[in-house]
């Protein structure tokens, strides 16, 4: 149990670092979802199934979805601007 816990904690630390170091937001979304998944598992090991379920719904699904929607909207804006100014950005 101790080994599993330590491994999950270190994995959480690493996946948090990965989110920060993934500077391209489009890739970062996946790092973020991965981080959410790691945290979900960590919370399960920490005997917190309620929190794990929340993190699964919010951290792994809802929040990354919002990020994806925001990124899509940003790309559409960019396209629109490019059309307005008559050239790519």
């Amino acid at each position: 149990m101790a080994f599993l816990l330590a491994a999950m904690l270190l994995l959480a630390a690493a996946s948090g670092l990965a989110v920060v170091l993934t500077r391209d937001p489009r890739r970062q979304v996946f790092a973020l979802a991965g981080n959410g998944l790691v945290l979900t598992l960590l919370f399960l090991v920490l005997q917190a199934p309620d929190v794990a379920l929340s993190e699964l719904a919010v951290g792994t699904a809802a929040t990354p979805l919002l990020f994806l929607a925001a990124l899509a909207a940003v790309r559409i804006n960019r396209k629109r601007d490019a059309a307005d100014t008559g050239g790519p950005e």
Binding site: M1, A2, A6, L9, L10, A12, A13, G16, L17, V19, V20, L21, T22, R23, D24, P25, Q28, V29, A31, L32, N35, L39, L42, F43, L46, Q47, A48, P49, D50, V51, S54, E55, V58, G59, A62, T63, L66, F67, A70, L71, A73, V74, N77, R78, D81, E89
Partner: protein, 115 residues
């Protein structure tokens, strides 16, 4: 092992702050902020953990079985809502900034002209 969770929590917060301080894209920055937020989850759940105790749900185990601290879990549930709501608000702001300014770089979007 006995200090590992605290170290991990501090690490997550520190790494997130480093990401925010060096970020050149607001959407990336919001992702870093949620890393900081996850530090508080780890800290709180770590505080309530008990070796050898089960989850604080007495469905399969009868009441009286050793269980971890349910208070911190309730706090973390609220905390997760906080994280999600703040992320949604920030993303909405970032979107609008991009619509108006065509950029997401915090160093180009300033409250005052000519700063």
């Amino acid at each position: 092992m006995s200090v590992l969770p605290w170290v991990v929590a501090a690490w997550l917060f520190g790494v997130g702050v480093y990401g925010i301080a060096t970020s050149r894209n607001y959407i990336h920055l919001i992702g870093c902020l949620s890393v900081c937020q996850s530090a508080t989850y780890v800290l709180l759940l770590g505080i309530g953990y008990d070796w050898g105790a089960g989850p604080p749900i007495f469905y399969d185990h009868p009441p009286g079985t050793p269980a971890v601290d349910p208070i911190v879990q309730a706090l973390v549930l609220t905390d997760i809502v906080v994280g999600a709501t703040v992320s949604a608000l920030l993303l909405a702001m970032a979107l609008q900034v991009h619509k108006r300014e065509g950029t997401l770089d915090p160093q180009e979007i300033k409250p005052l002209k000519g700063q």
